[in-house]
């Protein structure tokens, strides 16, 4: 089948998509956007998190057909012409990235959090990121990065 949707503000068309293909597969293998990661493909790790019409979803659990006519934003679309998004800058600065495989999903989830809750408490950060596994960092630097990202965003950066 043919699936047409917008990714990072650009119209995209994928042809010959199989019924069972996930949005994650189409992004990674058909559209050349490997930013969203494939650590479990079962909805358990959050490394594939992308925005679908502004709501974070596990792209591995969304059938490609469900994205028809909708708007997807991936880690590749977080930065703007002015530079890195606050979450991206904060994760890089705070040591929240080691191997980085969890990072694309965490960035989307954290970006959503600080958009909804401008000054999140630690408990709110933990709850928001509970579905994103990271095997490297022990999460301490990730917490710090989200606090920092909220500050950067509030400062209009």
């Amino acid at each position: 089948m043919r699936v047409r949707f917008s990714v990072n503000d650009r119209e995209q068309v994928a042809d010959d998509v199989w019924e069972g293909e996930s949005l994650l597969f189409v992004l990674r293998e058909r559209l050349g956007l490997p930013g969203a990661k494939n650590a479990c493909e079962q909805g358990e790790c959050g490394s594939c998190t992308v925005y679908l019409d502004g709501v974070p979803v596990c792209a591995c659990l969304v059938a490609a057909g469900q994205a028809q006519g909708r708007e997807v934003r991936t880690v590749e679309g977080l930065a703007s012409a002015d530079g890195l998004a606050p979450v991206q800058q904060a994760f890089a600065e705070c040591g929240a990235v080691q191997c980085g495989f969890c990072t694309p999903g965490l960035l989307v989830q954290a970006d959503d959090l600080i958009t909804r809750v401008p000054d999140p408490s630690d408990a709110e950060i933990r709850e928001a990121l509970a579905g994103n596994l990271c095997r490297c960092t022990g999460y301490e630097k990730i917490l710090e990065a989200v606090r920092r990202a909220a500050e950067l965003k509030a400062a209009g950066r």
């Binding site: 293998e29 490997p34 650590a39 079962q42 990235v97 630097k141």
Partner: protein, 769 residues
């Protein structure tokens, strides 16, 4: 000559200007936050095929027949291969080549590879693999490690026999010590199978070259050792196998053994097309070795005031069907089996055995992690029996510089364990649980308690880990460093084969180049085998070894540049150095720009760095100077336990670690946090559950790793007691925190519940029974 995959690793310019000791940011950080960093599973090249592996559903079985016909008939399939198609040697392995590339007549563990399929779509390949018909004769698996030790000749999983290694340690006079003991404590302890659970699945791309060779882009821990195993199996000379590190999504030991490397190479050579293999999570649980499960029996005798007189220990490690790194795991368990304590009389027997259970090998802290749970549990038992507190009993028996390890090796650099314990104990304790917010209680957002039935506990753990490879291995590293002028600026270019797996080695390489060469601009080249061996990214060794190699190569480059400067300056300056982009004389100040001294010359040097020699453990007494360096970490855990439901919430972890020299505090803290989290996982949740040799939980739904809700805030105190033998005085830091956090958490849960808790991971039923 070769087509390079889209987004293969490129040179990166290291950000910032910081040298050794600064919290410099990662050179690959921006790529990783923008999604541009290419992991092995992201590689893509025109016309590539997808490879899939057919694996054994049985733990032990004979293969009567394999019919690949139905798979070959599937449209889109380009090749189906079995052991008959292995072009060269049919077995490989880290220490012994005892593992078949593809099963030959028999399988010895669930998930053992049997056949390979390459097709134009991954689903086509998977579907075709399911069509392969295998005629099985299923056999009773051998799964009881202690039974194998009792009868290694008949319980034989493979040709090498039942026992991979038995390492005894014998020190002093046990009979006399037993007679003198006023207090005797004993215990049986066990550790389940832990998985590395790196997030980036095993993956890579093999591209056939025009010369009949192959280019491999893979996520691994050790390019050159991969090569040594791959080339003979592919029937190629080493120089025709070109290895480039693809982005690695975590490793923790799980990428020390080969996974898809030879398989992708075989398919690419057969089809003449690039072949990519990516495991999914289910396959990943079968695609790499795990942490050895352990059965341990300990007995200590001591004086009434808590001084240990003797230790008697048996440690049984189940390595599964193939040798992998079991020999080294046994050595660690034997040599570090009693921890950093002075014990005059010792009898240890450590065994690594072959079974049909899942294959085990390297995982962060191997051998030392398992023993640490037992010896720290014993320290608490001893303290209790003597009426001495947990910190005091450890301080009484603590090693220091000049103490002897169980192997007789004298600790010849600082080991301030008693001081570390004092600092740990002095750290403030967290406040009592705030029951107003139920998220703070065990069960968290599930709101299973409102504070009733919740008890708090505090526990301590101590660990000691060997850094670098031990027992006579010369695991050297190589670095090539070039200094040249690029765009008017003196630029250092660093090239090694060392695997960046997330730990931050690339950051450190840039810091060292800046410090040694006095330049700001550093370029890190992709790791490949176009430069000499760097050894493995394991055993907490890369800062020491590749750090040492980069330092040595920079020193050689610096000597050349200073010689050029002397030539140009005419003087006979003996006090020159390179600082801030300039050639500086201690007496006469800045004399010239490095860029001007270099002009269009390129200065390049390659150096190997070797650590001091070590010896193998004596096969009878276990004695010998087997370790290069030792590192200590201590943890305190505070937990709240819902004693009715058996739920544990770790409230805080505090750690004191001696790292010799803080090379980069930001990444060091990340290592301590991450290592502690993996220890928390082993204490409370992580286990590959096995029944009759079969894995019951190969998914992230059923194999749990700590989430951000499980991991508490950490308090760190990092000490710098330099090791004079090591570059910059540093001490390897990645593994020690993984050791001590587990026993600290278990001790805290014991403190809260009064349960004996002799097994990790702790399950709710161990607490509430």
């Amino acid at each position: 000559m070769t087509t390079v995959p889209v987004s293969a690793a490129k040179d990166v310019v290291a950000p910032g200007r910081g040298g050794v000791g600064d919290s410099v940011l990662r050179p690959d950080g921006t790529l990783k936050v923008t999604g541009e960093f290419a992991y092995a599973s992201d590689l893509w090249i025109d016309g590539m095929l997808f490879g899939v592996t057919l694996r054994s559903p049985h733990a032990r079985a004979r293969i009567r027949s394999i019919d690949v016909g139905p798979a070959l008939a599937v449209p889109g399939v380009e090749a189906v291969l079995t052991h008959e198609d292995v072009p060269g040697r049919k077995v490989y392995g880290l220490e012994h080549a005892d593992q078949p590339v593809l099963a030959i007549g028999e399988v010895r563990h669930q998930g053992e590879p049997i056949a390979l399929v390459a097709a134009d779509h991954p689903e086509t390949a998977r579907h075709a693999a399911e069509q392969i018909r295998v005629g099985w004769e299923v056999l009773e698996p051998i799964t009881d490690a202690r039974a194998v030790i009792a009868d290694p000749d008949s319980l034989r999983v493979q040709d090498r026999g039942g026992i991979a290694r038995h390492q005894p340690v014998r020190v002093g006079d046990m009979v006399a010590a037993r007679a003198r003991a006023e207090v005797v404590v004993s215990g049986d302890f066990s550790v389940g199978i832990q998985d590395q659970a790196f997030l980036g699945p095993e993956s890579g791309l093999a591209v056939p070259g025009e010369d009949g060779g192959i280019d491999l882009f893979v996520a691994t821990q050790w390019l050159h050792n991969d090569l040594r195993q791959i080339a003979p199996c592919l029937g190629l000379p080493d120089e025709k196998v070109r290895m480039t590190l693809a982005g690695v999504g975590g490793a923790f030991g799980g990428r020390e053994d080969l996974s898809m490397q030879i398989h992708a190479g075989m398919l690419a050579l057969r089809t003449g097309r690039p072949v990519k293999i990516v495991y999914n999570r289910y396959e990943s649980f079968f695609g790499h070795v795990h942490r050895h499960p352990a059965l341990m029996r300990y007995e200590y005798g001591a004086t009434r005031d808590g001084r240990i007189l003797y230790a008697d220990a048996e440690i049984v490690l189940d390595g599964g069907a193939y040798t992998s790194s079991t020999l080294a795991v046994v050595a660690n368990a034997a040599s570090l089996g009693l921890g950093p304590y002075e014990i005059p009389n010792i009898e240890i027997d450590a065994y690594g055995v072959y079974t049909n259970n899942p294959p085990c090998g390297a995982m962060r802290g191997f051998g030392a992690v398992q023993a640490c749970f037992a010896y720290e549990s014993m320290m608490d038992r001893l303290g209790e029996a003597c009426g001495v507190g947990p910190v005091e009993i450890r301080r009484i028996n603590a090693v220091g510089q000049g103490s002897k390890l169980a192997t007789g090796q004298v600790i010849d650099s600082p080991a301030p364990l008693a001081d570390m314990l004092t600092r740990l104990e002095a750290m403030p304790l967290p406040a009592p649980p705030d029951t107003a917010d139920l998220r703070n209680l065990p069960g968290g957002v599930s709101q299973t308690t409102h504070g009733e039935g919740v008890a708090r506990g505090v526990g301590y753990g101590v660990g000691i880990k060997n850094i670098c490879f031990s027992e006579g291995f010369d695991d050297y590293s190589t670095a090539r460093v070039r200094l040249e002028v690029v765009g008017g600026e003196a630029t250092a270019v660093v090239h090694t084969a060392a695997a960046e797996v997330g730990q931050g080695l690339v950051t450190l390489q840039a810091q060292i180049a800046r410090t040694e060469l006095g330049v700001d601009r550093v370029v890190i080249q992709p790791a490949d085998n176009g430069v000499g061996d760097a050894g493995s990214s394991s055993a907490s060794r890369q800062s020491y070894m590749t750090g040492g190699a980069v330092k040595a190569a920079c020193e050689a480059v610096r000597a050349d540049v200073l010689a050029l400067a002397r030539e140009r300056l005419g003087g006979t300056y003996e006090d020159l150095s390179l600082i801030g982009g300039k050639v500086v004389s201690a007496s006469a100040g800045a004399l010239a720009e490095i860029a001007d001294v270099l002009g269009d010359r390129v200065v390049e040097q390659t150096r190997e760095y070797h650590h001091r020699p070590t010896v193998a453990m004596d096969p009878v007494t276990g004695q010998g100077d087997t370790h290069v360096q030792l590192a200590l970490c201590v943890h305190r855990a505070v937990v709240d336990v819902d004693v009715e439901l058996g739920l544990v919430k770790v409230v805080e972890l505090a750690a004191v670690q001696d790292v010799g020299k803080i090379m980069n505090r930001l990444s060091l803290e990340g290592q301590i946090h991450g290592g502690s989290a993996q220890g928390l996982g082993l204490a409370l949740m992580e286990e590959i559950v096995v029944q009759d040799g079969l894995v019951r939980n190969p998914s992230f739904t059923d194999y749990l790793i700590p989430t951000i809700l499980d991991m508490p805030p950490m308090r760190l105190d990092i000490l710098e007691s330099p090791d004079p033998a090591a570059p910059y005085g540093l001490r390897g830091a990645g593994e020690p925190p993984t050791l001590s956090s587990t026993p600290a958490i278990v001790a805290a849960v014991r403190d809260a519940t009064g349960r004996a808790l002799t097994r990790v991971p702790i399950r709710p039923e161990h607490i509430c029974r």
